[in-house]
Symmetry: D2
Subunit: 347 residues, 4 copies
């Protein structure tokens, strides 16, 4: 039995038909969340609102998703009369809406970065002054493999960034051993990770037959990864460098881990096998993982390799940035929050 | 009043150093024209003007082209003091600039559609009322394989559209026989053909793993193809349908020709071999041609196939839409206009 | 002697657990059929056999499909003890296996071309002498939108080719009017349509940034399309030309239809709306359809355009060649054969 | 004045027409070398031999290259009567041919790995026992930016591997400072780097929409990079991990450099500016470099970034793996060996 949000407020919803609105459903992640919820056996997708494209049908914008709904102008009096919300607003804009929904008693999964960092000062360092710092303690970091129990009762779930999802899952078992001395993460992402905006950087001709790095040397997902690794026991300053690749969906993190000198030898593969033995959405592979194997799934696929020459451990983690890196993980969180089977609608 | 070579006036330029400005060098075709002229042994690239991005360096916008010049604000008093101009403005905007350059005695190769159609009424039907109809008689259709002699003396050369370039070269030998009864042209183009503008249609995620038609059923290159085929002896109303493919540069026209019933049998391959025996930039192949074989070249590669079951002749023509379909053909025209070897700087 | 439902013999299987073997599950279509059946609520995937890669696990060969079975060496005494079979063998090799399964009373969906052409002489003209001509009358052409009732009782279902699936669905409503005078089909396919064999033609470097035609002018899917169009009332000799595109899954047919001169004007869009009003897997769109909209679905998406200049009707049809063009259509057929909801496991 | 090979033998060639054979011209790098030499103003391409495809024309295999020669069966008595040879054989097979050519007095640029490692024991550890260890002292590592003078006189030039070319150029200025403590190189390559063989790994469907690592954790280019960095002053054991991307030509190395603790602060950008001020084929950029900017060029483009948080220096290097990573660098070496301008035929 789900117990309801942290604040103790009794649940208003009928678990058989929990209603959900998606706010900002015109973007890639919001639209995919709408699709997953539209076909979900328990959730009832009540409304999609857009920040642009109001009045257009989702199945016109995204024929592939086949969601026969129109993007509506935001009207909280109508759209907030739901049990839960998925907020797919940009960083900064999200916080205010999340706060308002929270005041109205709606449980929220927020796809933005606004509630991922626990420390408002760190947020300010990497983004801007936090618009709703007093709400930060209400938020739970929405990585189910890490905070499953906390998510169940959360009022606000901060859905992790795509890179942090892959990186934390790829590094957590090793981080817990305390053996990590240093980490370099070289990440590669498909273009959908940059969102739907028609920019020079997303122009086909810019991306095609190309690869290069961006966000060097201070990409905003860095503190999120550091925060979670530190909480696990690896309090290191990481190097994190993402690259843009000529593909649509898919994200690979290549993690180069230097172990603490003088530490005991770790059997990395065994540690991962044990750590993820019961995780339905984490797969271990013996050979380096490719993103194609996880396309349009909620799965993070991981391979672990020990390099005897350098003593390093190399870990690869692959996800679909729009699915496990955003929308399907949001549904996974909603499932947990409403006491449903965790894989409902995303398996 | 332009004197123009056509009128017999002696040329003013020093052939060893004919100066050229590129107007609208910020777009894909203008930038490529600038690159080809920058490295040209005879032409001296004097200036590049931009319609946007003024002040940015071309080798910053397009590192690949390595043209160390800045995009300047248009200033005709400076930029028109040249022997020749390449105008890479959008349709409609080009005509006015071409007219002004012409008045100042500058010979122009215009990459827009504004001077391609000889009949202002046809232009109006497919575009808008023609801004400079009185100049149309001054313009020569810039397909060297068809109008080589006229181009040499032209004051204004209307550089053909990319699709018409491939289609006319693919069909001309057959059109001259008078045997053509009907034509369907199914064309396929890479994304660079749509230009540099950051639009939803050019977003990587829209194009990747996709193919679809556009401009159905009235793409604006249709009357240009019909005009030239009619002049060759094939006065037919054609069906022309372009498709967008997930690649950068390259254009393929698949031409399905129904011959006039009762006509003599034509030996299509022999006709093409004879027609193109001396053309340096037309290649004949025995098997269906692919666009990769002409990438970054001024070559049109053609294959001809007779289908005994249906009696049809199928002709494929492949070009690089930015090169033979635009910028390198413009240089080919400039070479002709200034008495240089036709392949100078584009072979 | 096969009893077969057609013959009126009562069905032997328990509808709750009809067992299926996939023969030739190592290839792209067989592997996808295995995946769809593995997750099917009613069918029980009993075995996968391979023609190569025997002993390898499917989830090793195709991690994406997540089918935890091993490719087994063919052993009919074990593998034919099932209610149904999907045969994914190459043309020629399939017929013999289908015949043997049929003799053992197994209902078969055959993905090869061996039972698609009703006339053994036509088969011989385009392929080779037919190995099992006496079985041809037992086979039903497995396009549910056309032969739904016949499929229900069929002992052998000849699953249509990918191009014919798209072409026939795109043309059938118009063919039925009797108004079609001539047809040119220009088809575009992703590389998965060419199968898993590692050939020069399928090498990434060959396909990338390229497009060209193949099978000119006699691709083997031609007679299949002609046979079915003739049966609908359009007995024309068609021109059919496929092209290979740099994408994985997806197939577009661009159909250029010349109507019979002097015929009544047809309201093409209305005809299609009526024809497909109740078809769950045919979608009509107002604008030219792209293959991305049908990726990994059993849907054929169609748009119809009338060209007033030429009088032609242009019809575009898009499918996923591995899904509706092969494996998911096979499951659609199995669903019909076993009295299940037609969309079970493929929606 | 070129002085001739190291051994002091007088040169036999007429510098105006030095003749060259390409051995193994059927592969990607050999074919490109043939193209560059075919169009070279000084070298005369005498013959192309193939290890397969003997009798086929190069312009049939590679229309794009437009080399109108046939691949011939190896016949040393004919093919070794040249001034120089480019050997594009696989590792192991190359050594024997190089040795034989050397015995016949032909100067060789070898594209294989056989003469890159100075220490036969290291070669044996990563490859197999060296077939011609006594020749190793004759060979010069063919990175002109590093061994320009030695290459001029070399009898055998070991053309660097593609990854080492990019990595060494990206790291050399920093290595010379002695400040490097540790290096992680995460490399990304297009598919042409894997060669022309039609394998599962090179199948379009395997690569498309995918990215993964290979050669983990012991890729054979590792010792080559370590050897050259050590010679420069950075004697570290490196972590080197290549990844395969869905693009054709292009290679990016992302180098994560940990500086020695307690060392003086280095002004990395200034060091690079000075180091490469006069190098015609090294470009420095302020923002992370992409491979598209160097496609089909002999240029290595580099950007240097200091990360204040971690103290690391991040260096990106981009090349075209077939050009600077192989064939055009071979021509650059030949130019040096024969006293020609270094950029002849490759600028």
């Amino acid at each position: 039995m789900p117990s309801g949000p942290r604040g103790g407020t009794p649940l208003r919803y009928d678990p058989a038909h929990a209603s959900v609105s998606v706010f900002g459903a015109g973007g890639y992640t919001g639209a995919l969340a709408a699709r997953l919820l539209h076909r979900h056996t328990t959730f009832e997708l009540r409304a999609d609102t857009g920040r642009g494209d109001v009045g257009r049908r989702l199945d016109d914008l995204y024929p592939y998703h086949r969601v026969p709904l129109e993007l509506e102008q935001l009207d909280l009096d109508r759209h907030a009369r739901v049990d839960a919300a998925v907020v797919a607003y940009p960083h900064g804009a999200a916080a205010e809406l999340v706060a308002e929904l929270h005041r109205r008693g709606v449980r929220v999964v927020d796809l933005s970065a606004d509630f991922r960092l626990r420390d408002a000062a760190v947020y300010e360092e990497w983004y801007r002054p936090h618009p709703e710092p007093e709400l930060l303690p209400e938020a739970v970091y929405g990585l189910p493999e890490r905070y499953r129990d906390e998510i169940k009762d959360a009022a606000i779930v901060a859905n992790p960034g795509c890179y942090p999802t892959a990186a934390i899952l790829a590094l957590a078992p090793l981080a817990r051993t305390g053996a990590i001395g240093d980490i370099v993460i070289d990440a590669k992402s498909g273009v959908s990770g940059a969102g739907r905006a028609a920019t020079d950087a997303a122009h086909f001709v810019t991306v095609d037959e190309n690869v290069n790095a961006y966000g060097v040397p201070r990409h905003r997902h860095t503190p999120e990864i550091e925060q979670e690794l530190a909480a696990l026991g690896a309090g290191v300053t990481i190097t994190f460098t993402p690259h843009l690749l000529p593909l649509d969906q898919g994200e690979l993190v290549s993690c180069y881990v230097t172990l603490n000198p003088g530490g005991d030898r770790v059997d990395a593969r065994a540690i991962y096998r044990e750590a993820y033995a019961d995780e339905p959405f984490v797969e271990l592979a013996d050979t380096p993982v490719g993103v194609r194997a996880v396309r349009e799934t909620n799965i993070c696929r991981i391979s672990v390799h020990e390099d005897e020459r350098t003593g390093r451990v190399i870990v690869f983690g692959a996800i679909d940035n729009l699915w496990k890196g955003a929308a399907s993980q949001a549904v996974q969180n909603l499932n947990l929050m409403f006491g449903l089977p965790e894989g409902e609608g995303i398996s």
